[in-house]
């Protein structure tokens, strides 16, 4: 009898009546889950837990969490690890129902970890999640700025300028000599990992050091988008989007950015656009922050805009609809890390904890505190098209470069073209997309 309890084999029931008389929600949840709890069962359990939380069915939520707890393990196999972070997010959500004096600012329950700049350099190369975007973008940027003596990059990203050393290196090797390079970044960024233990200015200094070493004329600017008034500070605490509104007002006022006539302007959005709210209500202009950004940028006359983000629709208002999409998307980094890092690797655990951060925000928060508003490439592309931009396909050379990059990573990573997007895939599943845009009417 004990053997039947082990997970591998199907279980023959002694008393099937347990299941088919009273179809309880929990037995419904586990209906069809013979043997071990595989991904399909976990999905069902998550749906049931989510809907239980949304309908305040505490008992069912509790029971499902209890079952999930038996699967979850932060040092187990990828499914177990993924489940442990989901469970944590669900409990975090449930506990937030009680008004407390903590966590009003929407900060995560997961300890924030600061990295050194060299650690970050290694971090972005663990899996090609970020490097894919860097490679595709830099290659497209190089092509777009050909012949320009000056280049200005507006850098909106969360990876603290990790993208630029390879671009500077490529510019240094340009046959006609490097252009003058200017990089401008906002002073504040979305409060998500990876977090650095030095300031943005310090990063810029090091980057400048490297550019000097490679003989590339270089300038680095940080434009201050933090609030200058006490009221602004309060507003920032209440709503993280205030920082973004400040960015938008800077963009609306190009003189504040010190744009120059003879410069090729490059707008770089790497895993950043998803943090711009896509909600319509409560916005002053009747348009979401995201659409407002997309529209404002056109007025700057950019030479090229690169947009890289995560290819999944995770912005729905109902938890139940988000939770399985989230599960079926964020398994990818866990699965990828499993292929080459041991179960107790601290690097792996840290990376997974950062993804856990994202899971927590998506599952456990609502409203303006839920800052992870992922939108699939196809949908985001539609926004750009609607705003009057043209999608530029990646050239063959870029595709080759990206392929060469992926060859150096684990063999599950692949790439495909979807319309004019380049998509990073893990075992065939979409993970990150990259796109290039120019304002309509501006193409060569």
């Amino acid at each position: 009898m004990k053997a039947e309890l082990k997970g591998n084999t199907s279980v023959s029931l002694q008393s099937p009546t347990l299941f088919d008389t009273r179809q309880s929600p929990l037995s419904g949840a586990l209906n069809g889950c013979l043997g071990s709890l595989d991904g399909a069962c976990l999905e069902k359990l998550l749906i049931h837990c989510a809907s239980a939380l949304e309908t305040n069915d505490v008992t069912l939520a509790q029971q499902v969490m209890w079952v999930l707890n038996n699967v979850a393990s932060s040092v187990g196999d990828p499914n177990q690890r993924l489940t442990s972070w989901f469970l944590r997010a669900l409990i975090s959500r449930a506990s937030r129902v009680y008004p407390t004096t903590m966590n009003f600012d929407g900060s995560s329950t997961i300890p924030k970890r600061l990295m050194s700049v060299t650690e970050l350099a290694g971090y972005v190369d663990l899996i090609p999640w970020h490097r894919f975007g860097f490679c595709a973008s830099n290659s497209a940027i190089l092509k777009a700025i050909q012949g320009f003596p000056r280049v200005h990059i507006l850098d909106f990203s969360i990876t603290h300028c990790m993208q630029w050393p390879t671009l500077i290196d490529a510019l240094a090797k340009r046959p006609e000599g490097p252009p003058s390079l200017r990089i401008t970044v906002p002073s504040s960024r979305p409060p998500v990992p990876p977090l650095l233990n030095i300031s943005t200015e310090e990063v810029g200094l090091r980057l400048g050091n490297f550019a000097k070493y490679r003989d590339v004329p270089f300038e680095f600017h940080v434009f201050d988008n933090s609030p200058s008034t006490a009221l602004g500070e309060i507003m920032c605490k209440e709503s993280p989007s205030f920082h973004f509104e400040s960015i938008l007002s800077h963009l609306n006022n190009p003189s504040m950015l010190n744009l120059r006539e003879d410069e090729a302007l490059v707008i770089n959005c790497q895993h950043w656009l998803r943090y711009l709210s896509d909600e319509l209500k409560g916005s002053p202009h009747g348009a979401s922050l995201r659409d407002t950004f997309i529209n404002i940028v056109k007025g700057l006359n950019p030479q090229i805009i690169v947009v890289v983000d995560e290819d999944s629709d995770l912005s729905a208002s109902s938890l139940t609809s988000r939770i399985t999409t989230c599960f079926n998307y964020l398994w990818i980094p866990y699965d990828a890390l499993e292929t080459f890092l041991p179960k107790d690797s601290s690097q792996r655990i840290e990376y997974e904890s950062d993804v856990g951060h994202k899971i927590e925000n998506i599952i456990s928060f609502e409203g303006f505190q839920r800052i992870e508003r992922l939108e699939s490439g196809i949908k985001l592309s539609q926004r750009w098209k609607n705003a009057g931009y043209l999608n530029i396909p990646f050239c063959e050379e870029t595709v080759k470069e990206v392929r060469a990059l992926l060859d150096e990573h684990a063999s599950g990573w692949g790439m495909k073209k979807e319309e004019d997007m380049l998509v990073l895939t893990w075992k065939g599943h979409n993970s990150v997309f990259a796109t290039v845009w120019v304002p309509n009417g501006l193409e060569d």
């Binding site: 393990s73 009680y98 490679c135 490297f210």
Partner: protein, 507 residues
């Protein structure tokens, strides 16, 4: 085998194949799946899911020529071969070419790719996956002793292993150029170098921008294993002249990066206040990377993982400390106490005790269902947290472990008295608040769906709150919060700690 009622065609496919483990012929495709709404990652929801047994999967010559019966590993090879037969036009066409795309699942039931939602698009892919994940690693690289189960992986590795190496001045070696460039741009070694000499020669020729030979004057940094403090300090003093005082002289010894990252990770909360003032940050960071911290690494990751482990299944690394057996015994006692009414699971505790770190839970879904049902029907001691084995000192016989664990947490933070009010002691009464709080206050199913597993009014609540109106329940909440790790949230932990203290004093 008694068939359960199965409403989902997807899962029935999988279950059928589990029992068909021994079949040698490729199984015919299951009836086409209806579009499953929860498969956003699936390239083609109409795709046919094919589940092969391991033997069939690994069969090398699956594609057989109908004319001469020669076998081929790949379909393309078979087609090439068929051309050589000079077939008349009619026979050249493949018979009823399947337009529908096929996706394959892994035969290993515990594998994440066993589920159709994670199926892989091509047969070669699933074959390679199966070998890599579940197969024996027969191929070994001589240079770096990495092992591979698939020969082509091994070959691909042999091409790059040791062939191209980029070395940074700090001593770190990279096999990929872009990683090398990115590291180099931010590495302290570059900062040091430019502080001393203005580099006249740029190694622009050749693919290797190995700058090791550019500057000869700088002393080579000590190898990574030596205490990093000594490396950091010269870096600091040099950089302060060149760069702003915000420079954090993180040791260039990235070989210890993982160790130090862990230290930084676990120390994050303890030193957050220190880090926030960047001018003193340099000194603080250096001290974090001091050898004394490094040597405690072996303990700290295990305590971190133990904290999570105690909350989750007992699948901890072998460096687990006493907390693990404690949580086992707690959950065991729960099962034993709930076991009185059940005859199916004679000794479930044995499953737990002998749970070796295997990829899948030892309990089947139906076993868990039974347990959850009993939990719903059980008497008073079944709050969620106790079920998770997080009972505090209020439960009998578990004082030592829980207190020790909470004691560990208490040490890290100081308490903040204003927080004690916040932990659920002032739940709003009456209507108007959310349904959950209603349950808590009234202790019964007032208006929401009732538990089908028992006719008792709900004596449990989600987080152990409100049952006794204070006291033990709040201890349960504090245990939950502390279970999230020592760095959960400064305020949270402080509150929990102070609550626990209060409770300890009370009980």
């Amino acid at each position: 085998m008694v068939e359960l009622e199965n409403s989902s065609p997807t899962v029935s496919t999988a279950s059928r194949e589990v029992s068909g483990y021994e079949q040698t012929t490729p199984l015919p495709a299951a009836p086409p799946l209806k579009k499953k709404r929860n498969l956003p990652g699936m390239p083609d929801p109409e795709a046919e899911v094919i589940a092969l047994s391991p033997k069939a999967l690994l069969a090398t010559n699956r594609f057989v020529c109908e004319i001469c019966n020669k076998g081929f590993q790949r379909d393309q090879n078979l087609q090439l071969h068929r051309r050589g037969h000079n077939l008349p036009w009619k026979l050249k066409q493949r018979t009823s070419k399947e337009v529908r795309k096929r996706v394959y699942v892994c035969p290993e039931p515990s594998c994440v790719h066993h589920s159709p939602g994670r199926a892989l698009g091509d047969l070669t892919g699933i074959k390679k996956h199966f070998c890599r994940k579940h197969g024996e690693k027969k191929w070994k690289c001589e240079r770096c002793s990495k092992k591979y189960a698939v020969q082509s992986d091994w070959k691909a590795h042999m091409k790059t292993c040791g062939t191209r190496e980029y070395k940074c001045d700090c001593g770190t070696i990279f096999s990929r150029r872009d990683s090398f460039i990115t590291h180099r741009a931010f590495c302290d070694a570059l900062a040091e170098e430019s502080a001393r000499t203005h580099p006249l020669e740029i190694p622009s020729s050749g693919p290797n921008t190995n700058a090791g030979h550019v500057v000869a004057s700088s002393p080579p940094p000590p190898p990574p294993p030596t205490p990093t403090t000594t490396v950091a300090s010269p870096a600091l003093s040099i950089q302060s002249s060149e760069l702003s005082e915000n420079t954090i002289g993180v040791s260039p010894a990235t070989a210890t990066a993982t160790a130090t990252a862990t230290a930084a990770y676990l120390n994050a909360t303890a030193s957050t206040t220190a880090r926030s003032s960047s001018s003193s940050g340099a000194v603080v960071i250096t001290s974090i990377f001091a050898p004394s911290t490094v040597t405690t690494i072996t303990q700290q990751p295990s305590s971190f993982s133990n904290v999570i482990c105690a909350f989750s299944r007992s699948d901890c690394p072998s460096t687990a400390n006493p907390i693990e057996p404690a949580s086992l015994s707690l959950s065991t006692s729960l099962y034993l106490s709930n076991n009185g009414s059940s005859s199916i699971f004679a000794t479930p505790n044995q499953d737990y005790r002998h749970y070796a770190p295997s990829p899948q839970p030892a309990m089947s879904a139906t076993a868990l269902l039974q347990k959850a049902a009993q939990m719903g029907a059980a008497a008073s001691n079944a709050s969620l947290l106790r079920g998770f084995g997080l009972a505090t000192s209020s439960s009998s016989g578990q004082d030592g472990s829980a207190a020790g664990w909470n004691g560990h947490v208490i040490k890290t933070e100081c308490s903040s008295p204003s927080m004690t009010d916040g932990l659920g002691l002032r739940l709003p009464s009456g209507g108007g608040s959310s349904g959950l709080t209603d349950h808590v206050m009234m202790g019964g199913g007032s208006g929401s769906s009732s538990s089908p597993f028992g006719s008792q009014p709900m004596t449990r609540d989600l987080l152990g709150l409100g049952r006794d109106g204070g006291g033990t329940s709040t201890g349960g909440l504090s245990a939950l919060l502390t279970s999230f790790g020592s760095g959960f949230d400064v305020a949270v932990t402080a509150a929990a700690a102070s609550l626990h203290n209060t409770q300890n004093n009370n009980s």
